[in-house]
Point group: C3
Chain length 350, copies 3
């Protein structure tokens, strides 16, 4: 239980109304007197008079005349994130190594770190202060994990990976698998040894069952503050710039370089060896087959429609080039002068 006044102070908000003890967060319409809630947008302001929340975080523009206890802050969503972290601190596992963990004598583990049940920590591993390795994690030889990082459970970190501070790796994540690189010997594939590694910066997050492959030669690099959701594939020698975020089910092919502060929607696919600039944003399911060096919002795909309509339209797509040529012929027949030159030919470069 924390007083509203203390929360206000710690998140830099102004308290208006009487002080109250708060114990958890809840949405406006499901809150009781012990709850802290927040007003995300002006359109929900009507809910404010009905809520039973003990206190509400909101923006200055909404605070005027608001009933009850309010915490006024410029960015209420951010204020809420911080307040929620105060009311709901992560459960910390006790420092020390669980008796069932298998830890190599040559691993260096900070005494404030926690190693959970049935973990495997191999030789040459270095684990920093207050790191928490949850149950069932495997940390292979030569890996370094920076202070305050957390491997939630059943994370696999392959050899020689470098993980920064305050990283958060979710169950099933696989960091540092040998990348998918082969040479052809006739029809057979011959594996190319993947002698590079993975380097994750500070404050990086990798979601459940996502995979980040090690470099073929050199590093796969995930810079500080990058957030990777669940079921995402990052190929060898990819680099992802600071604070870029990727939603679930996306795949980035090898050697593609993504800039800073990008957002990659869900199920986006990127070809290999591309250059994506800073502040580039892709909507969900975008098909990225060329470089996008310029900041901007990019999209592709055909949104779902009634199946009967789709069947007809998709069949026409197969003849779209021909349709365009027919339109050009019509223009030439009808208005020979105007049509001349203004009908773009396909570049052949889709």
């Amino acid at each position: 239980m924390i007083l509203a006044s203390e929360i206000a102070e710690r998140i830099g908000a102004e308290l208006r109304g009487e002080d109250r003890p708060l114990e958890r967060v809840a949405p406006l319409d499901d809150a009781d007197a012990g709850c802290l809630s927040f007003l995300a947008a002006a359109k929900y302001r009507a809910s404010l008079s009905d809520t039973r929340a003990g206190a509400v975080i909101l923006a200055p523009a909404q605070a005027e005349g608001a009933p009850g206890t309010v915490l006024v802050v410029d960015n209420p969503y951010l204020g809420f994130a911080r307040a929620a972290a105060l009311l709901h601190p992560p459960r910390r596992a006790p420092a020390g190594v669980h008796a069932s963990a298998v830890v190599d004598a040559d691993a260096r583990i900070d005494p404030t770190a926690s190693i959970g049940a049935l973990c495997v920590i191999e030789g040459g591993v270095e684990i920093g202060a207050e790191v928490e390795i949850g149950p069932g994690c495997i940390v292979r030889a030569g890996t370094r994990i920076g202070a305050g990082s957390r491997l939630v459970a059943r994370v696999t970190v392959c050899e020689d990976t470098v993980i920064g501070e305050r990283a958060l790796l979710h169950p099933g994540a696989v960091i540092g698998r040998d990348g998918f690189g082969f040479a052809k010997d006739g029809r057979r594939w011959v594996r190319i040894p993947q002698v590079g590694r993975v380097r994750l910066g500070n404050d990086v997050e990798v979601g459940a069952n996502s995979a980040v492959d090690r470099g073929a030669i050199g590093e796969t690099v995930i810079e500080d503050g990058v957030k990777i959701d669940n079921l995402i594939q990052i190929g060898h020698n990819v680099s992802v710039g600071e604070n870029t975020a990727m939603a679930a089910c996306s795949g980035i092919s090898g050697s593609t370089r993504i800039g800073r502060n990008c957002t990659i929607g869900g199920a986006v696919g990127m070809a290999g060896h591309l250059e994506i600039g800073d502040d580039v944003h892709f909507t969900g399911m975008a098909m990225v087959t060329r470089s996008f060096p310029e900041a901007g919002l990019y999209s592709s795909g055909v949104p779902a429609m009634a199946n009967a309509d789709w069947r007809r339209n998709a069949a026409r797509f197969r003849h779209l080039d021909e349709l365009a040529r027919r339109v050009k012929r019509l223009e030439a027949a009808l208005e020979p002068a105007a049509a001349d030159g203004d009908a773009p030919e396909p570049s052949g470069d889709a």
Copy 2:
């Protein structure tokens, strides 16, 4: 070994021909005298005279004059499913806790339940009658698992998850990861504590390496009878209605609500905060960017074609709006009266 007559009785079929002992199921063209097979569709009826199967399940319309031993039932596919379950009962692990499992003293485990090798069962967990937890599973604090559920192997269930009865969770599934929620502080992402949970109903199935994230606040809900295939992502606060089935590789973004009895084809992507009604069906790879409240069959995507054709057509797609405008101009030039008003402008809302 079970007699055909006993199977007939237990699946509600009528036995015609002589009774026989049966020991396993097989397809018509690969069966011997100990096999039970089935005739799925009229078009395969010719196989019936060639099969060496000991008995065949089929529909009344196919039974007339069928040779050998047949089990006649209205829905042969369903009858086969039930008969196969009789002939091939799941291997049951012995009740009790494997010596290598790490079980918190504060977990409550029904004596008829089975806890496999190298499992981790944390404090406050409740495990019901005849639950089977296969090897390598992790069940974190406060989770409840209902009677008859089965975690096949290496399943991770995060804190405070509620799982109904007869659930089936496959290897690598991750239930209850903290969802992907952040507020922005300048360019940096600040994690919003995910204080909700996951609730799975009865008879729910979650496939290999799929992930169901916990609610940000409140629950992510998977209702009774929902079947989720492999490599599927379910975002925080999603709800999925009874008996909806999803094929592999799909992703459902946060807060989307899917109705009952829907089928979601493979690799479908859904944006967040959508409302999908009951009896809505999406074909594979559909891109779902808006709500679909009405029952029906919906599709999107462009089926594969020869690369040379695709390059030309995809290049034309980039100019499709312009092409439509050119057609409108042609119509106006050729038939000014008729064209007026009937050429739809793009809504801007794809």
Copy 3:
């Protein structure tokens, strides 16, 4: 450290220039005197004069006048793959069973095999010579694993799987899950027991967090030399022919048969019950809804573009069939004879 001359001999290259000791591979622009590098394509030839690499692998056409020590071979990329394997041999775990592994008394494990920490090996399992089972793997009852195969770490192999020689399975892979097969009982789904198995040939690779489901009846078959990347789903009763390679995030639905020597780009989706011939190649994100029996390169999808353009074009796609009909009407009005018959109607079969 290996002499350049020895590497040349073992990869079938001709050594020109003085012999040198080499200890690792590196790219041309990041190499020092102890490094072996390679020249992949003529366009990088300029780098050759700047590199500090101890030796460089290159093709005969590039060797003329090349400075320093070179290893000349017809296929430099293949030569490099082999040389890298000599300089960077995989770390081999020691033979024997780790004390923390849980091994059934009824498992047969070759004395040269290595079973890592916290593995579970169930009854009836057979593990061949020099197999390496890394930490945290689960090998369920009745599985057979051929000589020289390697399960890197945390792989799950379900009951009765057959794995050939020299297979390589990456962390999180799930082999032999019960496939996704159900019959309908009214609105409820009734599971059809999956009584088949998975058979992987020799030299098969399965990536991190990929899943290969067992046959419903009969086998799911992955032939010799098939390479499967990360996060890929292979449905029940699929068969994949020799030396076919699949990039990450793809999904193959049940009973589809893929030929030999195919390449499947990333995030490709295939419907079920298709026939894909030999030497068929799909580019990334292709949507495969029909059989492709003929060798060739096939594609689909709409590459990403500026969001504003995409919105307009995607909106037009919804009316593409109507647009084509309007063009046909224009053609009929303008050139009635020519238009007659040459405007294709949609087949209704997208």
